[in-house]
Structures are given as C-alpha cells and as structure tokens.
C-alpha cells in the first residue's frame, strides 16, 4: 500500500495566518471555501463540516495552544490535504468527546481526508504534535508557511 507522505498532505497556500472570524461557523465557512477554491473538496464540504462540528465537536485542550480539528465524511473530499489556520483571535469550539466545555482554539487543522488507511501515519504523527507544548507554540509563533512546514517535517519525519 502506498503510504501518503507528510509533504504531500500540506500545501503552503493552505497554511494561513492572522485568520479572523467572529465565530466558529464563520471560520469553518471561510476555511471550507479556501479548500474548495483549491479543488480539494466538494461544494457540500462546507455544510457537512459545519453540521458535523455541532454534533461531534473537535476542540482539544492541548497544552500551550488549544487546537480544533474540524473534518467530515470522506465523500465530501476530492483530494486529501490538511489546512492550517493560525487565528488572529481565538475562536470558541466545543470540546471533543464532551461537547459542553468551550475550547478557545488558536490553531485550526482542517482535515480533508478521503482514505484514512493511507493517511493514518500522517494523522498519527500530527496528533503526536498535539501533546507537545513547545511544538504547538512554535507553530503558533511561525510567521510564514515554510517555517510551519519546516517544524512539521522535523516533527513528523
């Protein structure tokens, strides 16, 4: 089985900085549109990801910098990619697995995944970053896509 590599799951044009949104839905809309513009997801992704987030929230109380990992069913995905949004101001997501507590997310990793069995290694490595405060802070402080990619490659390879 061909294993998806780290570098192919990120696109420098989909590593965004100073993203602003008044709330979660506005943010998800904005990010979904970026994915759609670049041809990674179907038109239906936006609504599906917004709806899924309501029922199965994805905020995580990670150390140092809280994150959210919005995603949805693979039928809405055309090509796999992981979008990263560094938010200008935190946006409230509900906590995954709990759904009550607000998580003020500062980094959003929007996952457009269509073949999890191929992409699992990258996802696992991505998740392993979430327990590393220093790495999350470094991504948060990074000023350009190449710096973010450099950190990710260092951590994930």
């Amino acid at each position: 089985m061909e294993i998806t590599q780290v570098s192919t799951l990120f696109n420098p044009e989909l590593i965004l900085f100073d993203v602003t949104a008044n709330d979660r839905t506005e943010l998800l809309k904005k990010l979904s549109q970026k994915l759609k513009e670049k041809g990674y997801v179907r038109e239906s992704f936006e609504e599906a990801v917004i709806e899924r987030e309501k029922v199965y929230p994805t905020g995580l109380p990670t150390p140092g910098v809280s994150v959210a990992l919005p995603h949805t069913d693979s039928i809405h995905v055309l090509k796999p990619v992981i979008l990263i949004a560094n938010l200008k101001r935190p946006v409230a997501f509900k906590e995954m697995g709990n759904g009550i507590r607000d998580i003020l997310a500062e980094l959003v990793f929007m996952l457009a995944i269509n073949q999890p069995e191929k992409q699992i290694e990258v996802l696992k490595k991505l998740m392993s970053i979430f327990s590393k405060k220093d790495v999350l802070l470094a991504i948060k402080e990074a000023k350009n896509p190449s710096k973010v990619l450099e950190i990710l490659k260092e951590q994930m390879n």
Binding site: Y56, D73, M96, N98, P116, L123, S131
Partner: protein
C-alpha cells in the same frame, strides 16, 4: 483476543488515529487486542461483541452495557498513561 471499538462521527480521522495509537500501546504492553475504528452510525452493530468502547464523541444514545472510556487522552497525550492503565484494568477483569 480482546476487541476494542473506537468511534467518532465520521470514522475517518480521529477514530482511526486513536485506534492506531491504542493498538500500538497495547502491543507495547503485551495486551492481545484487536482495535477497530468505526463510524458512529454503525456503532450499534459493532458494540455488542466488544470488550471495551473508546468514545470520542459527546453523543451517548444509551448505556451500551460495555465498559466505556474517553479517547481524548490518546489525542492530546494528557492523561494518556492513566487512560492506558484503565484499558489494561478493564481488559483484565473481563
């Protein structure tokens, strides 16, 4: 062989990741377990014949009658050691 089920809303990203992490940890500890990620919509069909359900959704329809723990520690790394001890404890008594 023990059977562990992990479910999330899409069965795509998070449940796969948690399942794979749990499988790796079980192997390291010599726990014989099969860990499977499932879509929440097919949970009913899978849960009857599992020894442990690892939940990463806030959605609990009913008491499934099987031991259930939260899968969040396997994503954040926070409290993962304790969660793994719980997995061991549950699988041992079953």
């Amino acid at each position: 062989m023990k059977r562990i089920i992990v479910a999330c809303g899409s069965g795509v990203a998070t449940s796969q990741t948690v399942a794979s992490k749990v499988a790796e940890l079980c192997e390291q500890r010599g726990i014989m377990a099969e860990v499977e990620a499932v879509d929440i919509k097919s949970l009913d069909a899978h849960i009857k014949n599992c020894d442990l359900y690892i939940s990463i959704t806030p959605y609990v329809k009913e008491d499934y009658g099987v031991p259930t723990i939260s899968g969040i520690p396997f994503l954040t790394g926070v409290g993962m050691e304790e969660a793994m001890k719980e997995v061991e404890r549950i699988l041992k008594v079953k």
